[in-house]
């Protein structure tokens, strides 16, 4: 099926969503997502940040769709024409969504462990307004303790439902979910139950904001001062393919490996995530590939080294003097 997104045509198989098609083209046309997670079934459709305008429904029926659609939950039709970043209305609507998401968010980034790898920070930076027009007190929830590993900060939550889907699809008995409704809706466990499950730690990885964070990493370091390396171990419960976040010789944090869309490649078990905090527990593969523009990359140098080597090669080819042999 042929679909055109922001003027770029691509051929995709039947059943592909607009978002998946856009991701196949590349990050420059892919709409931002806050609730969609490709490995979680029925995720997406809630946050409305990925809305796009369909200006031509299909080749057979070229009428445009009347309303903007959630690209993550709309399948492409043959000959569909989609406008994302080139459509002013879409950008304006997205700005509105960002404002809604940030309205009640505490903006406590200086003390939030997610800062630096937070989707809401990125989204706000790229699509938000500089100032909120909301002048009322922000919503606050009572804190509840959901166990020794995972910290729940409900005030930061944007209700993406990803953690609920993880619990539903990955663990054998879900004890947390959405309580109440409307703007009083919250992620919680029934009667402050503790989440005890071998894969419950994955809710931390899927959380786009700092609502669910790692208690074993709490206030240990800003993420950009840690260096990510890929490592493996022989784990009986999961694949054992993880990312270690090191500071000097210490393993401060263990997470799953994430792809360029910020999604976990393989989910890992709690033992790997919370218990194996020594380098000797792991077989280190090498530094992780982190996108150069990410704040995380500022403290790890392999890209800079690559860049330096490249520049020096070019300079040498042009007949420049070697930078290290300069008088």
């Amino acid at each position: 099926m042929k679909v055109t997104i922001d003027g770029i045509e691509i051929d995709v198989p039947k059943g592909t969503t607009i978002l998946e098609a856009a991701r196949m083209i590349g990050p420059e046309v892919a709409p931002p997502t806050m609730c969609y997670y490709s490995s979680l079934k029925t995720s997406g459709g809630y946050c409305r940040t990925c809305i796009v305008k369909v200006t031509q429904g299909s080749a057979a029926n070229p009428t445009p769709m009347p309303k903007p659609v959630a690209s993550c939950r709309t399948e492409v039709m043959d000959g569909m024409v989609v406008e994302n970043t080139i459509n002013k209305d879409v950008l304006e609507a997205r700005k509105g969504v960002v404002e809604f998401l940030l309205m009640n968010h505490p903006l406590d980034c200086p003390v939030c462990d997610q800062a630096g790898e937070c989707s809401l920070q990125d989204l706000g930076y790229e699509h938000g307004a500089a100032k909120t027009r909301y002048e009322f007190p922000r919503r606050e929830f009572e804190r509840i303790d959901i166990g020794k590993y995972v910290q729940l900060h409900m005030n930061r939550c944007i209700m993406c439902f990803r953690c609920v889907k993880v619990a539903e699809q990955l663990t054998d008995n879900r004890v947390h979910g959405v309580m109440h409704r409307g703007d009083a809706a919250e992620i919680s466990t029934y009667i402050e139950n503790v989440i005890e499950n071998e894969f419950s730690g994955n809710v931390i990885d899927v959380c786009p904001v700092g609502a669910l964070t790692d208690k074993t990493f709490r206030f240990k370091s800003r993420v950009w001062f840690t260096k990510p390396v890929d490592a493996t171990c022989d784990c009986k419960k999961c694949s054992g393919k993880v990312r270690l976040w090191m500071k000097g010789p210490d393993v401060l944090r263990v997470t799953s490996r994430k792809n360029i869309w910020g999604e976990a490649e393989e989910f890992i078990c709690n033992t790997c995530r919370f218990e194996r905090k020594n380098v000797s527990d792991w077989k280190v593969e090498g530094p992780s590939q982190i996108h150069r523009s990410s704040v995380i990359s500022q403290n790890h140098y392999n890209h800079l080294n690559e860049l330096k080597v490249q520049i020096m090669k070019q300079q040498k080819a042009l007949g420049f003097m070697d930078i290290n042999k300069r008088p």
Binding site: Y46, C47, I51, G96, F100, L101, G182, D183
Partner: protein, 445 residues
């Protein structure tokens, strides 16, 4: 006197019992359908009749039925949406309370047409006493053989169940209703797939309003062609209107679609004019979510033609100068009504009823309510009017289900037609309540 097809017997004592209902020609449509008609014939009759969904959207019922997927070996369901929660609408309650058998008769006939062996009536939680009336009627129907195995000796068997909701407005949205019926949290589903393909328990399902299902009875009895003769253009048949507000005779009226709005408000047959000799200020014509219109626009269209009680005429002029027939919740307001305060009541309702699934509605409805509260407190600025307008435009059309629109439209229409009232409060920094009473005590210190 207009023709009545649905509630013509509502004055008969004990019409809620099977005996009296049968004596007045009840269950004739079931006899006619099961003995003389094929299921598809009924769907064709409904198509010919031009019946449109009476729940609010006005989608042609026959077409909806024909969309129902019919895969082999998969059960199909008919679900009756009796979760009537739109503020200003109370017609289904009246129908179920007075003549419950009219609904059950419609359920049997419609189920036969759709090939549904099981049907459900999802009744709003607050209508628990109505649920008892309907359940009693269903028990009577089972005892008399109108429900159960081999109805009237034919191959057709049918079971009908009543489910009482938890009292959430959102469960009136068809996919949220299905979720709730399945025993889950009543959150709207993301469409597609539509219920006609994957509805209740993933099976093809038709969800119809109470009045729509009841209207199938006269259509089968008199024939679709005869039914289509009533009304104007694509608005055929009769419609129940719940009239409320500052009128002399509030209540449920069955009208022939096509009478003028002026006639409906001022004639003695219907609302009987505005009470206490006051003047009409504005009308919400189809339940709280449709745009409010000032007197000059509700009585006459922008072109100067008299406005009729039809789907098309009320929508004439789009949202700039028109509104919608909606569910038929007709709320008339006299000259002593504050539009701002009325809007606050609506906004508060939608804030309270938002399910919290998608961001614009979850956050936006509460924000709009808070700003309107500022108007009532007299602390609003002129820029707040622009802000309200901007918020509603960012909710409308960006949500999963129509609750977002339902919350945004009244705000948009009130600002469109009554902006001066907002600006006056902002300028004087004072809200003067011009209504006679403040029973709800809405203004908080």
């Amino acid at each position: 006197m207009g023709r009545k097809l649905l509630i013509h017997n509502d004055h008969v004592p004990n019409i809620h019992t099977l005996e009296v209902y049968r004596a007045h020609g009840g269950y004739a449509s079931v006899e006619k359908a099961l003995k003389t008609m094929q299921p598809d014939q009924i769907t064709d009759e409904v198509k010919t009749s031009g019946l449109r969904g009476r729940g609010g959207a006005g989608f042609p019922t026959g077409m909806k039925w024909s969309f129902l997927a019919k895969p082999e070996g998969v059960p199909r369901y008919l679900v009756c949406n009796a979760d009537e929660s739109e503020p200003g609408t109370f017609k289904d309650r009246y129908l179920m309370e007075k003549i419950p058998h009219a609904l059950i008769e419609g359920m049997i006939t419609s189920s036969y047409a759709l090939g549904a062996k099981t049907s459900y009536i999802y009744i709003r939680g607050e209508y628990f006493y109505v649920a008892r009336i309907v359940e009693a009627a269903i028990a009577e129907a089972y005892a008399a053989g109108w429900l159960g195995k081999n109805i009237l000796g034919t191959d057709f068997s049918h079971d009908c169940y009543v489910q009482v909701g938890g009292g959430a407005y959102i469960c009136g949205e068809e996919t949220a209703l299905l979720e709730s019926l399945e025993g889950k949290r009543g959150n709207p589903r993301i469409k597609p797939p539509f219920p006609a393909v994957a509805g209740l328990w993933g099976c093809p399902t038709v969800v119809n309003n109470v009045e729509t299902i009841a209207a199938v009875v006269p259509i089968v009895n008199m024939g679709g062609e005869e039914y289509a003769k009533i009304g104007v253009g694509k608005s055929t048949g009769t419609k129940l209107i719940s009239a409320s507000g500052h009128i002399n005779k509030p209540g449920v009226y069955e009208i022939e679609l096509g009478i003028t709005v002026e006639d409906f408000i001022y004639s003695d047959e219907y609302c009987g004019g505005i009470r206490n000799g006051k003047k009409l200020k504005a009308v919400v014509a189809g339940g709280s979510s449709v745009p409010i219109l000032p007197t000059e626009l509700i009585l006459k269209t922008a072109k100067g033609e008299p406005r009729l009680m039809t789907y098309e005429s009320l929508a004439d002029g789009g949202f700039q100068t028109g509104t919608m027939l909606g569910s038929g919740g007709f709320i008339a307001m006299d000259e002593d009504t504050s539009i701002v305060k009325n809007l606050f009541t609506f906004a508060r309702f939608y804030h309270h009823e938002s399910c919290g699934q998608c961001s614009p509605c979850r956050e936006g409805t509460g924000w709009m309510e808070k700003i309107l509260q500022k108007f009532l407190n007299g602390t609003a600025n002129e820029s707040d009017v622009e802000l309200l307008w901007d918020i509603q435009s960012k909710i409308e059309g960006k949500t999963i289900c129509p609750l977002g629109e339902a919350a945004a439209w009244p705000v948009a229409a009130a600002i469109r037609h009554f902006k001066h009232e907002f600006l006056e409060i902002a300028k004087n920094k004072k809200f003067v309540d011009i209504s006679h009473y403040d029973r709800l005590n809405l203004v908080r210190a």
